[in-house]
Symmetry: C2
Subunit: 462 residues, 2 copies
């Protein structure tokens, strides 16, 4: 694409994307021809040509002696990956929707959760029967603003057990872990702010942050946590408002934060405006607890969130946020303004399930089963030349490199046609440097057909 | 407050609010002294003094020869009513939180829902027992992106019965009616856009729109719908992007849209960019269906939303959106990005309850009970000099004027101290011209203590 035509198309695509994502709104002035040329590292004449073509398309308007302006009505917000259809293979939203479509024929090594049979089925049935006999308020009333008191008390005790001091009044229940992060984004961010994420990170963070129209900067993730040098450089260069990361087992890499990296990271952000969001959704999978930023920091600038969708049920939606009191108050206001009250019934079900005498045994059995799946699946992947980046200490994910020369997006697309939903690396990577990687969910890889399809596709693509 | 000191304080409060709500962000230049003086209709010297005091407070910064700039770090988004504590009586969020706190000692004529015993308790218990025996997927899996297919089919049939043609693929389930509106706001709005609401309107619309940092313009609501002349003027003057209103029985006034107003309103917006959101949350209370914008428009520019919290259960959270296909797709993307998948279990419970053979009888009994409550409550209010603005054809609300000289916010505050949560008119009114009005929920007024407290407070305040 290094021809003149290619460069003109590139400038046009850049402007179109900005209008589409509403970085440029109706009536807004485009960067001057010279500024745009510098920004995109193309010649002035290339920009002039690109702008003129966009004028011809009616997308922008030239005003004599004044510059170019966005014309007409603005399209609704579009979260999809801009670009050709083949890019859908690494479009976070498209992968989420594929995985959620729930076609029972599909195998889903790329999806981010356990098969339903692995979750706390018996406990949920018991919880449902219990709630069916509960007081009328449990069945009919809104939840209170903070959410069900005994569940918040239980969460406070669980947090205390890992060294995180939070009173039940510092905990608010949400409709999901994703909604918890979304509320925090709404509290702290406005369009144009900068947010740090891990590279790679959970792909839905990209879609979520796009909905907030913020600038996202990736920090490479190492075996022991974020690369601190890169983190510091990003801090200085971009003055980010938020850093969104996983606590415990990292998604997608399976790495865990070391105490020394946790400590140094918190020292780095001392004195800055940065707020850290720590998503602890995989806590119950850990065999030994990794270092947590929230525990070291004592909820000063770290906000701790989580949910029960990975271990209890994804059908009953409850998440939570633990934060310092003044932030928590504002988050509750935002929750009420944007979703009104929470689902009391879901909160009661989760509380009954977590206090069910079988819950601990369920979690322990799940960990053993996962460790076994890991031992079965990794050698089978290796036999196909698919190599783990590291062997995770626990959890459901293993982050792998494909054999040299294979493109993960192409492999994912070919596999999809054969009934296999994969999660190609670049869906997780802001820098798009994981084109040779895939994230595998070991619990979703216990069907022999997974490896048969992979073998066929890899052979064909080599 | 028309002293110089008062005017200086007013300018300072204005700037503080703007910084607080992030209309002015860190580093942003404040309006020039002259521009600010014109805007707020005060003298230049008043603005100079106000700015200098804010500099002294460290909130803003003076740069020689250049102007005043916002200093330091920006506070998180604050949705509360700025101002003195007494303003809390009309702060939408504070009223919602009071009503939701669920203190069993409080009487709540100001709250927006029925007592839990009025809802479909038996049906919900049956639904819970049924789901306790369901397939594991119902208990453990995420919902599909659009939501439970049979529930969407049922909704499509209900819509068809009122003349609204929508396929099940044009319907997406959400976590609540409020979340439905929020997703639509996220799709179409960005900070600084203008939104039309009814004046008065459901007070949480104000809090919700504040979270989107948009400009809100009120259109007076008449007995037959919005005042069309005012609507047209607002359309021309503000080029609003959205109009958010109720379908069927209007909250808080109890009025209903007439066919002629519906038709004329749609003609008015023809050719504009305006999208209409019609919140049909009270549909099941109607005895005869009022005109609906969505039915006349055929989902071209009207989006139809609703939920089950008013008639079925507020504890099980499910809402829905019906929209044209291209908008629906984008809304599903936004839903996944910001809350991931929906709650499958809640969707199954709602589906079982709606298809329960007792549901129709439940709704009919509820309507009769509400009509009876209306007949009991209205004369008792009138006996205290509290006059309905109109007698609603159905529903739970009656919008009333207090005796001459009474201030609804003061009355609400005094009543709160005596255990009565009221909803004062200005919480619903953007123009703040409902200072003499209150919204009463007739189903929450069947306790004699409501009138005893009201009588005491009104006597004391006259």
């Amino acid at each position: 694409m290094n021809t003149t035509t290619g460069r003109i198309a590139q400038v046009m695509a850049h402007v179109r994307t900005q209008i589409h994502q509403r970085s440029l709104v109706t009536g807004a002035r485009l960067p001057s021809v010279r500024a745009q040329a510098q920004l995109l590292k193309v010649s002035v004449s290339t920009v002039v040509e690109a702008y003129e073509r966009l004028v011809a398309e009616g997308l922008i308007l030239a005003k004599a002696g004044s510059g170019y302006y966005v014309q007409g009505s603005v399209a609704p917000l579009d979260l999809r990956q801009a670009g050709a259809p083949q890019d859908r293979a690494i479009d976070p939203l498209w992968i989420s929707r594929q995985a959620l479509e729930g076609d029972a024929q599909m195998l889903r090594p790329g999806c981010g959760w356990l098969p339903p049979q692995w979750l706390f089925e018996d406990g949920m049935r018991r919880a449902l029967r219990t709630v069916a006999r509960a007081e009328v308020d449990s069945l009919s009333e809104y939840a209170t603003p903070l959410g069900l008191p005994p569940l918040r008390l239980l969460l406070a005790r669980r947090m205390a057990a890992m060294g995180l001091e939070a009173t039940p009044e510092q905990i608010v229940l949400t409709e999901s872990g994703t909604q918890a992060i979304d509320l925090i984004c709404r509290l702290f961010l406005q369009a144009g702010d900068t947010v740090l994420v891990d590279d790679p990170c959970y792909f839905n963070f990209h879609a979520l942050l796009k909905a907030h129209r913020v600038k996202v900067v990736g920090v490479p993730y190492t075996e022991h946590g974020p690369d601190l040098q890169a983190f510091q450089a990003a801090l200085l260069e971009h003055q980010p408002r938020l850093y969104v990361t996983n606590a415990g087992i990292h998604n997608p890499t399976g790495a865990t934060l070391s105490p020394v990296v946790a400590h140094r990271l918190l020292k780095l952000i001392d004195g800055s405006d940065l707020v850290v969001v720590e998503d602890d959704i995989f806590a119950d999978f850990e065999l030994t607890a990794a270092a947590r930023l929230s525990v070291f920091d004592g909820l000063e600038r770290v906000i701790h969130i989580g949910s029960f969708s990975k271990t209890l049920s994804a059908s009953v939606r409850v998440g939570y946020i633990a934060a310092k009191p003044e932030w928590l108050e504002a988050l509750v206001d935002l929750k009420i303004a944007t979703t009104f009250a929470g689902g009391r019934l879901a909160q009661e079900l989760v509380w009954h399930a977590l206090t069910d005498s079988g819950y601990r045994k369920h979690v322990e059995a799940m960990r053993v089963r996962l460790a076994q799946a890991m031992q079965i699946v990794v050698p089978k992947l290796q036999a196909l030349g698919i190599e783990p980046w590291l062997l995770p200490s626990a959890g459901i994910f293993v982050w792998c490199r494909l054999p040299a020369g294979c493109d993960a997006a192409q492999v994912a697309q070919a596999c999809l046609q054969q009934g296999l939903v994969l999660a190609p690396g670049n869906a997780f990577s802001l820098s798009q440097n994981a084109g040779d990687s895939l994230r595998f969910n070991v619990a979703q890889c216990l069907d022999e057909r997974v490896f048969a399809v992979l073998a066929r596709v890899l052979t064909a693509s080599n």
